[in-house]
Symmetry: C2
């Protein structure tokens, strides 16, 4: 990733692939948008898409400018057991968003999702395919409850991000990450692992 | 309110007052913006502002297009005691936002607050002056804890609104109001009344 591009236009090619990917994911959804389709839209070979971005999951995260792979982080956090997972999740999330890179990417994502339907759809696809399907389905949870649990977790995490980083409401905006994790962690824990009645939608 | 305007330009005058109020509240904050200042900006007599809009609290809610007065609703909900207040709050909130008028006003407010710093400031002022100061300070809570509790409640309520009405993530978006209240009510209850360590900001 850090290699300097000897081939002229390499950055342009990557940008073209990302633009094609954003359009395809927003239009067709994660499952409907194939790497082949994205490559054709960008005018490149599918192998080049894999070469630059890896799997479709990784391309999707890159297209959304998501600075961490929840498919790697959440299983790490869950490896030490379900106890305290809520607090560890909030601490990790706040750690990423408090950093300059993670924070500006996160705020841009959030602003965009609230403004544009295509970005809202990308966020829905992200939560559905990357969080519900890739991550939560590997935790010891009843699959019938996963969508309800994930949408509740998402509501609290999104609200935390909006209040702390966009609206900047005090004292939440300046509170220490540990204090935020202690206050909001139990909410996430309840949404993940305590008995819950699944929503019928 | 429903009287038809015999005086020509009455609606224009009201709009001018609201526009002046929005600018003043966003610039100077709720406490810094006096009715007199707003009246002068709008080119009208302060008595006319009171005549059309009532108190400064009411003018502020009108300027923010907030379709309910939390200073009336929350004390009603708290009148039957602190037990179950979280669930009653969520049910009432979802009831208002599920309605066409409340929902479109709410979504507009939320989109605007995420996009524009002046609208974000209005939302902060709303939470600080209308929720923390007018409402929560009358509940049996330690005043030192009210700002922390209010910012936590706001984070979950805002996240619920964003996920259900703007991002429209299923199954939360289509879940029955009772089910949402049962799932999220206990979170709000914990933020309001269970032991909490105040944030230092």
């Amino acid at each position: 990733m850090a290699r300097t591009g000897r081939r002229p236009g390499r950055q342009d090619t990557k940008e073209a692939i990302l633009a094609a990917a954003r359009e395809a994911f927003a239009e067709k959804g994660f499952d409907g948008a194939s790497i082949r389709y994205i490559a054709t839209s960008a005018g490149v070979d599918p192998a080049l898409v894999h070469h630059y971005f890896g799997t479709k999951d990784q391309l999707f995260l890159a297209a959304m400018n998501i600075p961490m792979d929840p498919g790697k982080i959440i299983p790490q956090l869950a490896a030490s057991g379900m106890d305290g997972l809520g607090e560890r999740l909030v601490r990790t999330f706040v750690g990423i968003w408090d950093s300059p890179v993670g924070g500006s990417a996160g705020v841009a994502l959030l602003r965009s999702a609230v403004r544009h339907e295509f970005a809202a759809r990308m966020l829905r696809e992200f939560i559905t395919t990357q969080i519900m399907r890739r991550v939560l389905s590997n935790l010891p949870l009843d699959p019938a409850e996963v969508p309800t649990r994930a949408s509740l977790v998402a509501s609290q995490i999104l609200g935390l991000a909006a209040m702390r980083y966009v609206i900047k409401l005090e004292p939440l905006a300046s509170a220490a990450p540990e204090a935020v994790a202690a206050a909001i962690g139990p909410t996430i824990q309840r949404y993940i692992s305590e008995p819950i009645k699944p929503f019928e939608s």
